[in-house]
């Protein structure tokens, strides 16, 4: 269903992933039939509102879903190997070695009782068993220096609370890239940081990624960050993928009304006011039948098909894949949102 010619270059292939939340009244579908791929060395951005399932999708890739959530069906293949079929021990060899993950809040992402250097050295030694403590520390200093931490020898001896947020996130980048993983997952890596240091940390992440040549999935709700860093983009809404494609194509002419609304909600010099998509996203429990975006969509008003039939991703003339029954109308009428708002 995707571009077959790129098959040999595919690093991660997520197919028909369904994640459910186990509740007393039965399972609730949180992530619904999500499929995407990440090619070797590329940056894929997953964009969506809070609760759209973007973080959970990537935690499922790591095998780190929180208690009460589980993968119901689908497959997650890393270099052709289904991660969902691996034992816990086999998964441990993947985590931190083949896939490195950077989390949102650097203030809480490190053990407050352990020295930063010791936590980083552990990341190195877990996957290089024979390495001595001294050699692991030397590697830690090298890693810290490469992500822009000055005087790593003295700083490594300090505890996390003695580090600033920006420096801690650099340390997290160093930890995630300690074993040259083939895939990096960065879950809103700059959201919790001061605006002034966000771009520094992002630069450090980008240059580290380029140096080791890994692919990256960048989870964000910041379209600007996506435009600057990603080659491809995937938009999620209410646990489903609604549009995916090259960043240039999606930004030039979005094929889904939700994407269009997101783009219009960004303040730019050419607009006086940011657009606000009317309404709010449904909770997974109350997700409407048919298209989840229908109640907020200008295209869907009065149309029963949108209420009854879940749209599937399909290729469009603009070069993207979008899950919308009436995408052609959106492509034909570029000023649709402005008219309806």
């Amino acid at each position: 269903m995707f571009d077959k010619s790129a098959d040999d270059g595919v690093l991660l292939r997520v197919k028909n992933l369904v994640i459910v939340s186990e509740g007393p009244d039965g399972d609730v579908v949180i992530v619904d039939d999500v499929s995407f791929e990440v090619r070797l060395g590329e940056v894929l951005c997953i964009v969506g509102e809070s609760g759209s399932g973007k973080s959970l999708t990537m935690l499922a890739v790591m095998g780190l879903l929180p208690a009460g959530l589980r993968v119901d069906s689908g497959s997650i293949e890393l270099r052709g190997r289904d991660l969902l079929k691996l034992s816990e021990n086999e998964l441990r060899a993947v985590r931190g070695r083949e896939i490195g993950m950077i989390f949102q809040d650097p203030m809480t992402s490190m053990n407050p009782l352990r020295r930063v250097g010791s936590q980083l050295a552990e990341a190195v030694r877990l996957h290089q068993r024979g390495l001595s403590r001294r050699d692991a520390l030397a590697r830690v200093y090298e890693l810290l220096r490469s992500v822009g931490v000055p005087q790593p020898e003295t700083r490594a001896k300090a505890f996390p609370h003695q580090w600033s947020g920006g420096m801690r996130q650099r340390a997290m980048i160093a930890m995630a890239t300690a074993n040259d993983p083939v895939l990096l997952i960065a879950d809103e890596p700059t959201t919790a940081l001061d605006v002034t240091i966000q771009s520094q940390v992002m630069d450090s992440l980008a240059s580290t990624r380029e140096k080791i040549g890994s692919a990256m999935v960048l989870i964000t709700h910041d379209l600007g960050l996506a435009a600057e860093n990603a080659s491809r983009i995937a938009i999620m809404y209410s646990g489903r993928l609604v549009e995916t494609g090259d960043v240039a194509d999606v930004f030039r002419q979005p094929g889904h009304a939700y994407t269009k609304g997101l783009l219009a909600s960004v303040l730019t010099g050419s607009r006086e006011r940011a657009y606000a998509i009317p309404g709010s996203p449904p909770s997974p429990r109350d997700r409407p039948g048919g298209c989840a975006f229908a109640p907020r969509c200008p295209l869907a008003q009065g149309r029963t098909r949108c209420q009854e039939e879940v749209p599937v991703l399909r290729p469009l003339a603009n070069g993207t894949l979008a899950a919308c029954h009436f995408a052609e109308e959106l492509l034909a009428n570029e000023s649709m949102l402005e008219l309806s708002s």
């Binding site: 790591m62 441990r92 985590r95 993950m101 053990n111 009782l113 997290m172």
Partner: protein
């Protein structure tokens, strides 16, 4: 650190002085001991005469000043039943028995609870949690004095395997230690289990898994040290309580400890011994509290002693 210790020691001295003062006045408020020392047929004059000789008829404040001056010299007076030995010595000679019983029971109770809580979390087992908490609660719901008597019945009377009373050798520890340790077990299991559960959803735990760390190692080296912090305060208070004399258990097993001598002294209004005993209890509390504070600063780099 040194500054902290000095300040805490000054505070401790003030606390102990307060406890002694309260003990002094509460004791005196309970009446004069003369009548208790004489036989039932003693006349009022005889009782008054004895109180006069022992100094209990003097103004309260004068008695207190004498007592306080004595405390500063390290003199806590002596029991009027046994005037040749200072009260503090009578209490001090009971101290080793109490301290050894308290420490052994405490360590065994905490170690059992640690093993239980860790196994619940390492195996992620609800069944183990139910087993330990139900079992422990069942034990805790039986009062120590009753459990102690049952233990004596089973192990000493029926099986004849263990000594039931007093201190006759290492085997004497088994029953009282078992009584105290199993009684406190569920308290620590609950505290540790809920602290570990809270830690398990913390971000740093997820980071540790993301490094490729095994579940057992995450529980033992990441979650446990963080979970110990909130448990330490409670454990400290419990230990201090035990060190001051496990009164009921010492009575049941006729354990030659501080608790036993203190109870007898209270019922006989033997003020000197009560005051010396309460000094020990107060000292135990302040010492354990200081140790807990120092432990906090050792375990948690965010805590600074100042």
């Amino acid at each position: 650190m040194l500054k902290f210790l000095i300040r805490r020691l000054v505070q401790a001295a003030a606390t102990v002085l307060c406890v002694l003062t309260i003990a002094f006045f509460l004791g005196r408020a309970s009446g004069k001991p003369g009548a208790l020392l004489l036989t039932d047929g003693a006349t009022a004059e005889q009782i008054d005469q004895l109180n006069e000789t022992l100094g209990f008829n003097r103004p309260l404040l004068a008695q207190y000043v004498d007592f306080a001056l004595g405390v500063f010299r390290g003199d806590f007076g002596s029991s009027y039943r046994n005037p040749s030995i200072p009260a503090i010595e009578l209490v001090a000679e009971r101290l080793p028995a109490t301290v050894s019983l308290a420490l052994t029971s405490f360590v065994i109770g905490v170690v059992l609870a640690l093993a239980a809580a860790l196994s619940i979390h390492v195996f992620r087992s609800r069944k183990l949690r139910a087993l330990f908490i139900w079992g422990g609660s069942l034990r805790q719901s039986v009062p120590d004095f009753f459990f102690g008597v049952l233990a004596v019945l089973v192990f000493s009377v029926v099986l004849g395997a263990l000594p039931s009373l007093g201190f006759t050798g290492p085997a004497s520890y088994v029953l009282p230690v078992m009584t105290i340790a199993t009684g406190q077990f569920v308290l620590y299991v609950r505290l540790l289990d809920s602290a570990l559960t809270e830690q398990s959803s913390q971000d740093y735990v997820r980071t540790a898994y993301a490094r490729g760390k095994s579940h057992g190692a995450v529980v033992a080296t990441e979650m446990l040290p963080n979970a110990l912090l909130p448990v330490m305060t409670m454990a400290g208070l419990n230990l201090a309580g035990l060190l001051g004399g496990a009164v009921i258990v010492e009575q049941v097993f006729a354990w030659p400890g501080v608790g036993e001598v203190l109870i007898n002294a209270v019922s006989q209004r033997d003020f000197a011994i009560v005051q010396a005993g309460l000094l020990v209890v107060a000292l135990m509390f302040v010492v354990v509290n200081i140790v807990v504070d120092v432990l906090y600063s050792v375990l948690d780099p965010r805590v600074r002693l100042s």
